[in-house]
């Protein structure tokens, strides 16, 4: 329990670990999925799985927005970035995600004007500074990020910034969870629900998990004690035979979500009939595109986007990692051909990705255990 000393509230951490031990039933094996990449990061960083009894297993879910972008969409992004006069803007993580012919960073080295931005509003500012250029923003992210893109597009339209457009790759959290629950590969006992996504959508959209699938959900904060407490709440639901959505992160997440954010998203976006997820394949009604009212700002309508589907690399098992079927280190190329410096798969790119998180912290944690 060395890591507990580093917790903000070490005593509470120890108490929770002891209560978890007292709650697990003998002969049971519990598989709990943390949906959100931020949780995955905390779990590896603080060695939380080492604090849990052996029969409580944490499975990492598909909640890293960079990790789920398929290769074909990266190829599309690179094609747009190479269009004459285009300034292509994206978040830093996304620049290192490989498509079938390299990354956006490599496209930049080949002469495309690709720029890292912190915010979609930075992309809009660049558009206003360069009225003679076409500025495209590569929008990615779950409902945490989609409202920010939506407000930016609303402002771009209101101000008539005609040289700004959005290559929209926003995704929604519920359809992939439903796909995972429908998958025969996986037997999950409960979910650690996403923190920041729930800030926007609230806890209500997760109610289908207990209602339709009979599994408990606890929306969780990101501190180690938050995650331990959420694990305990899940185990208690299972022990009591209860099955509901509980909110451990009430101090930040309102059960109803952020109504303003939901309203702006509903105005600016509409659901695509289907969207491809890396490793998970096509999932219906899981991706967002710009609504008809915002079609003039849609980069997919403004530019010739190839839209060619590219199969995931054969060696890469990101799909199994994203579904929680295998652990990162069980992938054949983990840490050898695929590293954060030269990633093959998306899970190794973002620090929220299960593979990168394990690569960065896992070895360190094991060494420390030996000390």
């Amino acid at each position: 329990m060395k890591f507990v000393d580093e917790f903000r509230d070490a005593d509470f951490g120890r108490t929770l670990a002891a209560e978890i031990l007292a709650t697990v039933g003998p002969g049971h094996h519990y598989k709990l999925m943390e949906v959100c990449g931020g949780h995955t990061h905390s779990i590896y960083k603080y060695g939380i799985d080492d604090l849990l009894p052996e029969n409580v297993e944490l499975v990492h879910g598909p909640g890293c927005p960079v990790c789920v972008i398929p290769m074909g969409r990266v190829d599309d992004a690179i094609a747009v970035a190479h269009e004459p006069g285009v300034i292509f803007t994206c978040f830093g993580d996304m620049m290192r995600v490989p498509g079938s012919n390299g990354t956006l960073l490599e496209a930049k080295a080949r002469g495309a004007d690709v720029r890292m931005v912190y915010s979609p509003l930075d992309a809009l500012r660049i558009a206003k500074q360069h009225p003679d250029r076409e500025v495209v923003f590569f929008a990615i992210g779950f409902e945490t990020t989609a409202p920010s893109t939506a407000l930016t597009l609303r402002r771009a339209r209101a101000e008539g910034v005609g040289n700004f457009s959005c290559f929209c790759n926003h995704v929604t959290i519920v359809p992939p969870l439903r796909a995972l629950l429908d998958s025969p590969d996986l037997r999950l006992d409960g979910f650690i629900g996403p923190g920041h996504v729930s800030t926007v959508v609230g806890a209500r959209p997760l109610e289908f998990i207990p209602a339709d699938y009979g599994k408990p959900v606890v929306v969780s904060g990101f501190e180690p004690v938050d995650i331990l407490q959420s694990v305990l709440m899940l185990l208690r639901q299972l022990a009591d035979g209860r099955c509901e959505v509980e909110n451990q992160y009430r101090r930040v997440v309102p059960y109803e979500g952020n109504l303003k954010a939901l309203e702006v998203m509903a105005e600016v976006f509409e659901l695509r009939p289907h969207f491809e997820w890396r490793g998970l394949g096509f999932i219906s009604q899981s991706g967002l595109k710009l609504s008809e009212a915002y079609a003039e700002l849609d980069a997919e309508l403004r530019f010739a986007v190839p839209g060619v589907r590219v199969a995931d690399p054969k060696a890469c098992q990101c799909g199994e990692v994203l579904k929680g079927v295998i652990k990162p280190w069980e992938c054949k190329v983990f840490g050898t051909a695929c590293t954060p410096e030269r990633p093959i798969g998306t899970c190794m790119v973002s620090s929220e990705g299960a593979c990168a998180a394990y690569y960065n912290y896992g070895r360190f944690a094991r060494e420390r255990e030996l000390v």
Binding site: D93, T144, P147, L259
Partner: protein
């Protein structure tokens, strides 16, 4: 891009565009606070002095000071990823 960083609102700089100056561990940047407005168009939700969680240049939720401190401690513990997130924030010039 996923990290949400706590900051404190120093002043509202552009009420129409819902822009505020925030202080994030001594770094002052402009962010949008429009997502904290009420959805029925009544008075805005975020005020000078409020602590907020900031994600990609937008205040995502209001938090109290204790939560802000706890979140910062957690982020500092993340080392390079936190440094990267701050470095990206420093590049931001929202107008």
């Amino acid at each position: 891009m996923c990290l949400a960083i706590p900051g404190q609102i120093i002043e509202i700089v552009d009420a129409a565009n819902r822009l505020a100056r925030v202080d994030v561990v001594g770094v002052q940047r402009i962010v949008n606070i429009g997502l904290l407005d009420s959805s029925d168009g009544s008075a805005g939700g975020a005020q000078t002095g409020d602590w907020v969680l900031i994600h990609v240049g937008f205040a995502l939720s209001k938090i109290d000071e204790e939560e802000a401190d706890a979140t910062l401690t957690l982020l500092r513990g993340m080392g390079a990823d936190y440094d990267d997130a701050l470095a990206e924030l420093k590049t931001s010039v929202i107008e």
